[in-house]
Amino acid sequence: MAAYIIRRIVWTVPVVLLVILMTFLLMREIQGNPFRKTERAVPAAVQANLERKFNLDEPWYVQYALYTKGVFTFDLGPSLVLRDRTVNDIVKEQFPRSIELGLLAFAWALVLGVPAGVLAALRPNSRFDYGAMFFSNVGFALPNFLVATFLIYFVALRWGLLPTSGWTSWEHRILPSFTLGLVPMAYFARLVRGTMLETLQQDYVRTARSKGLPHRRIVLVHVLRNSLIPVVTAAAPLLGYIITGSFIVENIYAVPGIGRYYVTAVSARDYSVVMGLTVLLAIIVIVANLVVDILYGILDPRTREAHA
């Protein structure tokens, strides 16, 4: 078990390096990026800073190595546009809000989506089942900016229940996280329903029934546990959606997070920030994949042995 975990962790390192390399090479192609000397109209102080930070006189691989070192020592360089702030400052300030938004969205998805899927599977082809699946389909298809607009219009403006934008009080958290959580919710509902239906068909469930075990135990111990394993692995791709979705949701609800800032930075051509944020997001995804893999190994004893 421990060997499995260690192996997975060790493998992550080259992946991270590769991603940083690719992002770095991509960034160098953008006009006005910090890694090349260009005819940017940048104040002298910032220019000196840049040259020092990004080593513009060095060949590209040295630049890359130094930048990577910076990543691992949590030093992402100065912002190109905001004179007295570094990328780190921006990240430290905005990132926690995005994390909170993402976690809350995930919580919505788990709390509403999973039970919906379980109930739908336990009452297949009932009205609840059809209703749940219908909403799930709609949840996938509707673009989140539309949902956000409607929620703001009705809940915030017409009924005045919640604020329209911002991130200061706990009420501000509800609408944005719910909006962001809709697609994961729909995803979980479908997924759980599917895996539960599949599990319910398995021979070992029939065996459990033939043992005369009470229905509740069968569902909780035999069925649910096996059905929830795929849910864990689904968490990883959902993270991709949450990141993408946060760009829009933070934008509409004016949540001062990384997603919104990324767009701002691109529009403002603050490419060192863009680089830093991209690398950061990529690392988050990679680490999340790692955690999911480990969790999967814990939950399903067969995978541990298979990788041994």
Partner: protein
Amino acid sequence: MTAAPSTDLGRPPVESAGAPIRQSSLWQDAWYRYIRNRGAVIASVIFLLLLAYCALAPVFSPYDPNEVDFAIAHQAPSWSHPLGTDQFGRDLFTRAALGGRISIGIGFGATLAILLIGVSYGAVSGFVGGRLDNAMMRFLDALYGLPYLPFAILALAIIGTVNFWTMVIALSIASWFITARVVRGQIITLKENDYVRAARALGARWYRILLRHLLPNTLGVLIITIFLELPGVILGEAFLSFLGLGINPPDASWGSMAQDGRDAYRAYPYIIVIPSIAIATLVLCANFIADGLRDALDPRTRET
């Protein structure tokens, strides 16, 4: 389907009992199953209607989609303007269709590009196998979970300009990973099939095997993949345009129309609602069609 005993009971023929067997090809079978799937058929019809609308409405519309006329701005739907007008007095019915052309165009364009990249990568990786496959898959794994939006944005920034084709390129570069993996999986499964071994034993060259045996059999999976990737790409374009990083005026795409309507939604919601509903409809239909195709081509995956 009655299995009546043979009327001649002297020597019962072997086929007298049991249901008759009907010979049909894979595609015919799939077609039959698809037709019987009501959801998929309805979705296909709506999909085609939507395509027709986007293609034909601007041709027959009496309005110039770019003509500004503040006198009739922000009108609610009426007979002369079935979907109303936007803040510049432009007919939304026409603009939605034009927007659809661009959005759907980008959608299909990027999907095809994804297929091209994904199939090439996956086929090479799966077919060659061994260490190259290993290396290629490791590379793919590294990129797999990365969210496409930042990378699409980066790609657009690199290219510099934003227009129809650059959107296609950017979106496809950021999203080909899943297809590559699926194709590789298919190729690997098929490679082990007996008829491929037979072809090899007969001395067929690798490109012949690839082109004549392996790829045609992945055709089914590819068709399904088209309708699975399409929603993602269309939403991707919508998001990019909504954020202001995509299609710019005066061109319209559904995403940029939504952005237009964003500020005015309180008073005139349909500017944002109409393109959003269009996107949602397209996505829903594509999902149903993909499900239908999946059931039709591989009935074992059907849920009870």
